[in-house]
Assembly symmetry: C2
Homo-oligomer: 269 residues x 2
Amino acid sequence: MQASQPSHPIGVFDSGVGGLTVVRALMDRLPFENIIYFGDTARVPYGVKSVATIEHFTQQIADFLLKQQVKMLIIACNTMAAVAADKVRAASPVPVLDVIEAGAKHATSVTRSGGIGVIGTPATINSNAYARAIHQLDPSFRVYSQACPLFVPLVEEGWLDHPVTRLTAQEYLKPVFVESIDTLVLGCTHYPLIKPLLLDVVGNRMQLVDSALSIADQTAELLKKQGLSNPAHSVPDYRYYVTDLPVRFQAVGERFLGRSLNHLERVSL
Amino acid sequence: MQASQPSHPIGVFDSGVGGLTVVRALMDRLPFENIIYFGDTARVPYGVKSVATIEHFTQQIADFLLKQQVKMLIIACNTMAAVAADKVRAASPVPVLDVIEAGAKHATSVTRSGGIGVIGTPATINSNAYARAIHQLDPSFRVYSQACPLFVPLVEEGWLDHPVTRLTAQEYLKPVFVESIDTLVLGCTHYPLIKPLLLDVVGNRMQLVDSALSIADQTAELLKKQGLSNPAHSVPDYRYYVTDLPVRFQAVGERFLGRSLNHLERVSL
């Protein structure tokens, strides 16, 4: 396996379609970088699976992308980052960033009160990975975590501004509001799509941290620091690999990506 | 592969935990039958996957159960029944029943107006399998289908009698109410858990058909007709196989089963 080359693509992966919010942020922040995306759509969602199964699936995907000669890996799935980031890092010859580390860093840099809320899937919240990442940066911060299992299906249903989604958000955030929290991390790549609704529900109680934007910033920083920015200033190459037939991925994916989605291919692991 | 023997167990399978509502109905209806249940929890849910992938996974599970010498197969997952029942039947040396056929038969026997509504996952509804099954019995019946993708996550969240579930049901059933329908098929094994709430939302507009109860009745009939009823009147043996670690299956499964869940084992396909 050869070392990272500046002209090589960035590898981004997720259990399904959610990581495309990270791809979208990368496209906006780093418009000359080539990107390969991998979504494990035949086995999505990971959020309710066991640690052993998630670790196994995650390593399979990382290996696939490394064979495509990516210059870095981005774990765009909070569940995989929570459960398997350490193993991927230990086995990877190229730099690895993950959404949890990115969201934690961003949250600690903007909180004033030191009270940080995190919302995510049950697997992400149960792993306690955000609290660990935040406390590694500063053990004095208080972290309050809340699982929101219905947000992913609500986003995939397209109910981005629907009374049911609003009522669900009010229900999930009720216990968050009574804590002294000024910063809320969107700990799932699906949540940026309901950011307007969430902003409305939280009002001026707290600011939201969108991990997709955080990781795009950190990617820019890493590429610059390691001399890995793509020197070519031409139209970049975007490729998408999925494990199930790509029809639904394409339809839902374009909503996540905010633009059309080409060069989509199905592969087996 | 040897033929069906009366003392052999009934094989029931589903993509996850939902088929346990069928097991529960079988336990009540046929208290002396041994049952083997298979839930593909590492790859659940099937409802959003492609036809090719669902067919492949379904056949793997049927083969596993046939190796356990089941005397009949029950496809307790509407998505698998919709997409892969014909293939399983063609390859099976033992009788095969499925929830769609069972629900369709029951609905056609109780409707008075001939207007039948069906609610289910997107894959079940998109397959149009209920309409086909109903029209094979009587082409004069009118079928109106409605996908309800949020019901499964709402049931798994445990919001069985929650304002969000009520609002979601009202939203999904709005188009059903304006059709001339007197019978509504619960075309997903998760839905029996919200039957009280659904009964409340539909009021006296229509009666509900619970496929779990329908298939238990048809199983009793088939066993009797083919001389396959278990002659032993002792405490039966119940075994459960899953593909992911069984912790979550056990917790959620006991809610579906309405009793404790033992003899649970993880296997690989």
